[in-house]
């Protein structure tokens, strides 16, 4: 269905997947380069989702539910990017600290943290999410939706 629309999205950041030198000591705080790389991810698209797995193949029920919500809302795929934290341990730990949020998925809208799966579910139910996304102008045109283009 519309999930296919996500097929064209960028799945991970080249900055993060490139070799970050191995540091033996336990990470107690976010290194500057990780922080920079995450900031790069967050600003790579108006709507950015950090998830387990990919939009086509989510690898966690919460990530799947979040993708379904976003799909249902009709996010414009050109304004959406998803990052698979399972591909990058640095990102997986870093994003939790970056957002001060312990779980994944995490959704960013215009570089601002919106919430995780539970918050998005609640917001989708009470209509706040549709309003927020609409105001941000990240939804597909209705006409596009009907035709099911892409």
């Amino acid at each position: 269905m519309f999930l296919k629309r996500f097929a064209s999205t960028r799945l991970y950041s080249p900055a993060l997947s490139s070799h970050i030198p191995f540091r033996p000591q336990a990470k107690l705080f976010l290194s500057t380069e990780t922080k920079k790389a995450i900031e790069g991810c967050v600003s790579s698209a108006p709507v950015v989702l950090f998830m387990k797995g990919t939009p086509e193949f989510p690898q966690c029920g919460f990530s799947r539910a979040t993708i379904e919500i976003l799909d249902h809302q009709g996010i414009d795929p050109n304004k959406f990017a998803a990052y698979n934290v399972l591909e990058d341990p640095e990102l997986r730990d870093g994003i939790k600290e970056f957002s001060e949020w312990p779980t994944i998925p995490q959704l960013y809208l215009n570089k601002e943290f919106v919430g995780g799966c539970d918050i998005l579910t609640t917001m989708a139910q009470n209509g706040d999410l549709a309003e927020l996304l609409d105001e941000a102008g990240v939804l597909c045109d209705v006409e596009d939706d009907v035709k099911g283009s892409e």
């Binding site: 919460f62 312990p102 779980t103 919430g115 539970d118 918050i119 609640t122």
Partner: protein
């Protein structure tokens, strides 16, 4: 008969009381948030690494939902790191 009784006992224990881990989380949140209502359930299906928590507290008043969740996340910081998932519902309505 004895076996049947123990099964019933086990079952009712499972249905009506919390596991030690659930109780531990329950106590932790109660201590910090003084909640008006609180439900903690292990929804992992056995491994004990996924929980569902519903909490309403006056302490949430005036906070955005993200801030409410962050408050709970902070209290359970050491525990959440070990879990696979957490389903959290917060409310300021009392």
């Amino acid at each position: 008969m004895l076996k049947y009784n123990s099964v019933v006992k086990q079952l009712s224990k499972r249905l009506y009381s919390m596991s030690s881990q659930e109780q531990y989380i329950y106590d932790k949140i109660t201590k910090q948030l003084n909640p008006k209502s609180l439900q903690v359930a292990d929804i992992s299906g056995g491994c004990g690494s996924m929980f569902s928590i519903q909490v309403s507290s006056e302490k949430f008043k005036g906070l955005s939902i993200v801030k409410q969740h962050k408050l709970v996340n902070e209290i359970l910081k050491d525990d959440i790191g070990k879990w696979h998932g957490l389903q959290l519902k917060t409310s300021s309505k009392v």
